[in-house]
Symmetry: C2
Subunit: 326 residues, 2 copies
């Protein structure tokens, strides 16, 4: 935890900017530092972030995520959809746009294509959790799922931890093998699910609606970033594993509604009173891994303040297409 804000934005320029590829402007270390600082702000109650709102469409849904981050002088809204059938049409299943508003006047200052930024800010949160919660000597990374977010978790975590080997699993073994072939520089190889789950750090990034990861596969002391479950009904982890672990959420309200724990809570097999804390509390040093053998889980749903944190970096770096507005 750095204790300082990395970027403070002055949005008082005159015209609206459009950034079609803002991800080209930021590195994982920058994103991780900004997201870490923002989780500290969240812990200290210095953000405004109403719960994300879901609208259901025939083939998917979209979520609207407004927030205000006073310490960074940035406010805005991300709009992001989930359309699982998009892949068949050659489109990403998750597509996002962020609007940045001038805090003093409400004037829209920028529109960001936030599709890749969403991957990065989610990866960055995984890295923050890993940095603070994984055992200090953890050197193996297991990826359950081999899509865009698996890639983001790998890139972010290898930016904060030295990793000797990355194991990857996918329901479609060809996809896992392709992922491994693309990442030989990370010493990545495809492996069976059980072997992947034996890693010291594990990231689950699938859209599963039923537990994939069995309790008995997870070694004592492991750290898990549970990323995939971000809507009611989704879950990736065995409820027994949840009861055996110290679970940290990004945000209580969002996680109990739509995170990994949402289904076990609604089924009565997990008591939210058992939650160990929030990632913000971990960043602020209020909560931590307590024993070497603890299994720690970061239950990520994705917060609007993470989007603003990376948006602030983009704004600070400047550029963008100028659009007429007022």
């Amino acid at each position: 935890m750095t204790g300082k804000l990395v970027y403070t934005v002055d949005l008082r320029e005159s015209c609206m900017l459009y950034f079609p590829s803002p991800e080209e402007k930021l590195t994982y270390p920058e994103a991780i530092e900004a997201v870490e600082t923002t989780f500290a702000e969240h812990c200290m109650g210095r953000v405004q972030m109403p719960p994300k709102i879901y609208v259901t469409l025939e083939k998917g849904d979209f979520r609207t995520m407004p927030a205000y981050l006073p310490a960074s002088g940035i406010a805005g809204v991300k709009v992001v959809n989930v359309h699982p059938q998009n892949r068949a049409a050659g489109l990403p299943s998750v597509i996002a746009l962020t609007i940045i508003l001038d805090v003093d006047t409400g004037v829209p200052k920028a529109i960001l294509n936030a599709t890749a930024l969403t991957d990065i800010r989610t990866g960055a949160a995984g890295a923050v959790a890993t940095m603070h919660l994984a055992q200090s000597d953890a050197r193996t990374l297991g990826l359950v799922g081999s899509g865009r977010q698996a890639m983001a978790q790998m890139k972010a975590i290898t930016a904060v931890r030295e990793i000797d080997e990355v194991l990857v699993w996918s329901r479609d073994i060809a996809r896992a093998e392709m992922f491994a072939a693309d990442n030989t520089d990370q010493n990545c190889r495809a492996a069976p699910l059980e072997e992947v789950c034996g890693s010291e750090i594990i990231c689950t990034t699938t859209p599963s609606q039923a537990p994939l990861v069995k309790n008995e596969w997870i070694r004592p002391g492991a750290h898990i970033n549970a990323i995939g479950a971000d809507a009611p009904g989704k879950q990736e982890l065995d409820p027994e594993l949840l009861r055996r672990s110290r679970i940290f959420v990004d945000d209580y309200e969002q996680a109990t509604h739509s995170g990994e724990i949402n289904h076990p809570i609604s089924e009565g097999v997990y008591d939210p009173a058992e939650l160990a804390g929030t990632l913000g509390e971990v960043v602020c040093g209020k909560k931590r891994r307590e024993n070497m053998d603890d299994i720690t889980i970061f239950d990520s749903t994705g917060l609007a303040i993470q989007d603003l944190a990376v948006g602030a970096i983009v704004m600070k770096k400047g550029g963008g297409m100028e659009l007429p507005f007022l």
Copy 2:
């Protein structure tokens, strides 16, 4: 009530469009017809519209308004601020942007500068209410407030009713006189508040936080569009006038939270059980003015579905700047 949808959108084109001045693409009659049809959809429960979300900033706030209008094949989000001090800086106090999403894929299809569209769709709702609720021989229009929304109400109402004379009042008499001078073609003149309130149709469009319009000034049979109150704490009408009137809201949840009735309800001086119905019910013919002497009030807070209704017209008409996105 036309019973048909005016515009059905096919958003399957390939790139994101930006409309800096979409208001140039639509007329009041088009907007009024689309908004009327959308209120009918609302009445029939055929829309998705979560309550608008407020985020508070130091000098104002912003509201995020997602919705889905299946009958028009359109989904999206409006982001709109209210910064009363903007006027001093030469900026509108209300500035808005609407994102239109492809329903089938979630891909953002267009971004609309919705500042003037917001005026128009609010004016259009006032016209729909006036068309259905005002006495058929009402020919005088009183405007309480002389800003952008007073202009929109006048333009919209004169598109649906023949008006002989428009009276306008402002706290700043010079502004009312300027408004009148700009609208001599509508036989408009500035007048004292009491005289304005003696009109047969009255539109209140001020940001007042205390009642301006006294009960005794309102004639039996009058119709009032109460537009200004759109956030908790705002009110323009005497609570006694509310109790004496048949009040129609745009949306129960939004109006009781932030409409003209929000403050009287929270003070216990108005019982929401007394509400006469919604504008959608009026459009569908389920609710109406019952007696010649009824005072009818339309309590408008502004709905996301109104924004989509006018957005659909813009999309249908085409044009816009092409922006790279995916």
